[in-house]
Point group: C2
Chain length 201, copies 2
Amino acid sequence: MTDVSGISHLLETQVSSEDMVRGSFLHARRDIVSLPDGNHATREYVVHPGAVMVVPLLEIPGQDLRVVLERQYRYPVQRVMIEFPAGKLDAGESTAHCAQRELFEETGYRASEWSKAGVIHPVIAYSTEFIEVWFAKGLVAGERKLDKGEFLDVFTATANELIAWCLDGRVTDTKTVAAALWLQGYQAGTWKPVWSSSTAN
Amino acid sequence: MTDVSGISHLLETQVSSEDMVRGSFLHARRDIVSLPDGNHATREYVVHPGAVMVVPLLEIPGQDLRVVLERQYRYPVQRVMIEFPAGKLDAGESTAHCAQRELFEETGYRASEWSKAGVIHPVIAYSTEFIEVWFAKGLVAGERKLDKGEFLDVFTATANELIAWCLDGRVTDTKTVAAALWLQGYQAGTWKPVWSSSTAN
């Protein structure tokens, strides 16, 4: 156990930085860093614009809380994954706008109330990616507008089903498992969203 | 809402595959895939050997459940992160061995009992990475053996503190937030580990 005052004994500082590869999707950089002991090391990582994930709530009085989910084939892991709607930020786009856009494009739903739950970092060893997590309620169904080349199913499950699927291995997408912790807190009353209308964003 | 029978309407199949970049850490490939509608698309992704994460439990009768955590600077996200011990599989290494090795090397603890909680996929859009999640108990403290160039603090917190930190934004590492869902299930009795001795692995 280390007695820690401050974080200076952990910090790495940039010595140099260069592009490693620029693909049509993947952009990676290679930096030389100075370690806390003064030695140098290489850090290779993906540069990512950031993303949002939406937890869409279907609250019907007298019924169990339900959520809107997607089923989508994810090529790098070679399997169909159950996930919450999510997507990358467009250049210059606010996270609130991205959340509303991705929910509508992928599921057809528009939400009247939104609450930011937090930010998660999915790949801290080799990507700059962050995912801002939004809860949405007051859903109105419409016609979705998938991107060209995008194929996914939309379905609903109870919040308790989703949490059980995370624990028994049917859901393995880490961002969705993380969102289930907020969902559990929401149901238990230990995490309280602060709702605001979508027009406020 | 789509009525779905089977998953063939979602699958992508490989048409070709080539190395995109091979760094000292990062290895990426670029594949051409055939989409469900027959059109082609490009998939660029990181090739990763897989990893393990360990949730080390400190159970002292009459006291709140505690867990062992790390504080480590993560260069791609430019901040000190609170995380459970984790690390990549060595070539040919079993996940059980990797779990024991990483726990010992990073924290100095050896555990007498182990239980696999599940597998999570942290980066389904652009990495093959999986993380196998292990719970460990019966901890005995020893002297850790950090890799050269590795700098991290080890500390403990109660399970309830960790869960609160995930919900209030002090913990944003997604694998650690996901592990907190199992930890919550463990405390609530809704997820039950199946323990076996470390020598069995």
